[in-house]
Symmetry: C2
Subunit: 263 residues, 2 copies
């Protein structure tokens, strides 16, 4: 969990470091490490083995972790239950999903919904057909802001301070071929704001193109929606208008829900 303040080794006053350590343990799980032995957990979280065992047992007790028959630990189902209440995750998703279904129905391509979390994007939903080309993105996973359609949209509408930081740290290898310098990136972001969408193309991992558009709630950009599809035939397929219209439909529903909640 980048950007999370850690106070490892701090004095265990008032119990906060226990929570820090518990979430450091949970943070040791990622898509390449879904099931881990105690030793792996201790090593990857930087928590001493005996302490990690106590923490892991407590987390099993509350259902945040589950233990497999072979003794390894996995993230527990009950964490999903609580996490599903995150307004910026499943709350947004619940509103957007039927519209994303329709977009998927029309395009049969990858349909992505992402939100910004600090200097990265987090994938809230992805719809993909069985025969769609491979993409590396998984729900709950992170995407770079500078090399994905949804990322560029989220960055273009992020607070100036976030934009400045990401632009200053920009390295060409991260982004599309035609965005070589921080100034190029600034120009792209201005274009995204002007056109209210972005079109992007990449050669890796296969010739793929994307159109992404902002989703607004409460007057602010709260998410980005995109279609990712093979570059061949992309322009003729009319994905751009479909994505932009759907993003606006989701925004309209979010504004309605916001007014209802505020009333």
């Amino acid at each position: 969990m980048p950007g999370t303040p850690r106070r490892r080794g701090g004095k265990p006053s008032e119990g906060q470091p226990v929570i820090d350590r518990a979430f450091a343990l949970l943070g040791a799980f990622d898509s390449d490490h879904r099931a881990q032995s105690l030793g792996e957990l201790a090593r990857r979280s930087g928590i001493p083995r005996s302490s990690a065992l106590r923490l892991a047992r407590s987390l099993v007790q509350v259902g945040a972790l589950e233990r497999l028959d072979d003794g390894r630990f996995v993230v527990g189902l009950r964490l999903l239950e609580t996490a599903s209440l995150a307004p910026r995750g499943h709350g947004l998703r619940a509103v957007a999903m039927p519209y994303m279904e329709d977009l998927f129905h029309v395009t049969r391509q990858h349909v992505l919904l992402a939100v910004r979390d600090g200097g990265e994007a987090l994938l809230v939903e992805r719809l993909s057909a069985l025969d769609a080309g491979p993409v590396r993105y998984r729900v709950g996973g992170r995407l770079p802001l500078t090399s994905t359609g949804v990322g560029l949209v989220l960055l273009a509408f992020a607070p100036t301070a976030v934009q400045d930081e990401v632009v200053a740290a920009y390295e060409p290898a991260q982004g599309p071929d035609e965005v070589r310098t921080p100034d190029d990136l600034r120009r792209v972001l201005a274009e995204v704001r002007r056109g209210d969408h972005v079109f992007g193309r990449q050669g890796r991992p296969w010739p793929v193109s994307t159109v992404a558009a902002p989703v607004r709630g409460g007057g602010e950009v709260v998410a980005a929606l995109s279609v990712v599809a093979p570059t061949t035939g992309f322009a003729d397929a009319g994905y751009g208008p479909a994505v932009r219209a759907t993003a606006r439909a989701i925004s309209r529903r979010l504004e309605e829900e916001g007014r209802r909640a505020g009333a």
Copy 2:
């Protein structure tokens, strides 16, 4: 989080009670209480206000909670990131989703995927069209085992001890009209095992029918898949074979993935 051992008020030795209390605080959120003031959080979790504030601040620091501009707390996006790694949640979902898409594409009705957690079912995924009838189920939410199609399938293939407990506690008001007694319920469960699927009908909240079938992985029933649709026209639409075929397709893929992971 029913069934979770709680040690509220226990001696704060070795830090475990801090984790208990932290998850009690997280457990105070539900679909009707997605944003809560400190006072609400303290009241609903049973944790003293000053202690709840310290815990909530710690949880904000690690990203498990976020604080709104009005001071209320909501579940944080980073919890979704960790929760998405739960093999029984998003792991299963990742395999099942393309098949569920296809089933949804064919039926345009509610498509549900649920797993069992103790004596309840937990909804892992739901696909619904914009114009589909209302259902009360939300992703990450809990469903009763005795009054839903997915629940009856999960119960029918649950360990005997779980079945005995649920059957013993069964009250007719919980289930379909024709299941009046624990013995009726046992008979239904035997039928589900024999037929490898269940058909159910309910008058509330609207005349709705469902077909549910088991999803298997590693030789065991790991989830249940269903279509929920208006009772009118249900039988003629052929949802039954569609659900059963799709559940088998997901099972086949899960077994393949299991063999690959075990190799």
